[in-house]
Amino acid sequence: MNMKEQEIKETLSDIKDLMERSQKVLYIDGASGVVAGLWALLGAAVVSFWLYGSFRPLLGAWMNPIRHGYDWNTLLIVTAVCVVVFAAAFKTVWEMSKRRAARKGMEFTLDAGARRLLKSFFTIMVVGGLVCLTSLFNGLYNMIPGIMLVFYGLALIVISPIALSLSVTKYIGYVEIILGVVALAFAPWGLMLWTIGFCLVHLVWGIWFQLVFERKDR
């Protein structure tokens, strides 16, 4: 009987182990969300200072024209900041999540379906980036924060089936889209809404994840 009991216990723990390991989920590290939010804040601050010579646009409506005119320097700097911040934030989230998976003895592999979703995520982000560039060329700086938020929200919704077991990613996507549409409608608030969407939302999510989800994990 004891022997049998031992066997059942092993079977059950094997089942649990297999179920956990096979979950097709990117367990995103909550702390990495906080870091990504800080990257975003840094980017917003640089852009705000370059364009307006002030950090005030991050905090509220800002109607003043930009400092330098629509020249190549501005175009290059804004584009470079966007690319660097996105790449840095993505890399941070990716590496920290990978390390978190290793820490918990989970595999961090992506099957064909997950890789396809990740591809769609990047397609949407690249198209969003191109739309932003066209706005830059036309001097429509005001519209860019809204466009970024909307495309990022869409990309999050697309990737939500594999990101996190809780379906919270999808709702973050909706929040970003709503913020983006508001930013498009009320352009002077753009940079502030961008900072809320890319910095505050990530910070809140990261902290919430650490507090609620990680604790439950233990």
Partner: protein
């Protein structure tokens, strides 16, 4: 106590329990993923998949990824119920709830 009768004969094989575990965890999974997760041979896995399919516990999903055809498997509603009944029977045999 009739719990011993609640154990599903279909799940006597560890490979079949493994298949059900992976598919329940992953939602859906293809042949090669199952193979590497469970560490079994092609033939062995194929025969167990066939058996579970005939019982109506799992179903195949045929789709294209790019241009490559891809067959994956997922647990049916019947399968889900049978699997959770089996696990409940196992745990109650242990006297834990």
């Amino acid at each position: 106590m009739t719990t011993i009768e609640n154990l599903d004969k279909a799940f006597e094989s560890r490979v079949r329990l493994g298949i059900m575990s992976v598919l329940t965890g992953a939602g859906q999974s293809d042949f090669n993923t199952l193979k590497s997760m469970l560490g079994v041979s092609d033939g062995n896995l194929a025969s167990h998949i066939k058996a579970l399919e005939e019982l109506g516990y799992i179903e195949t999903i045929k789709q294209f990824i790019g241009r490559k055809p891809n067959t994956s498997y997922s647990v049916t509603e019947t399968g889900r119920k049978a699997f959770s009944d089996h696990i409940n029977a196992l745990t109650s045999l242990l006297g834990i709830k």
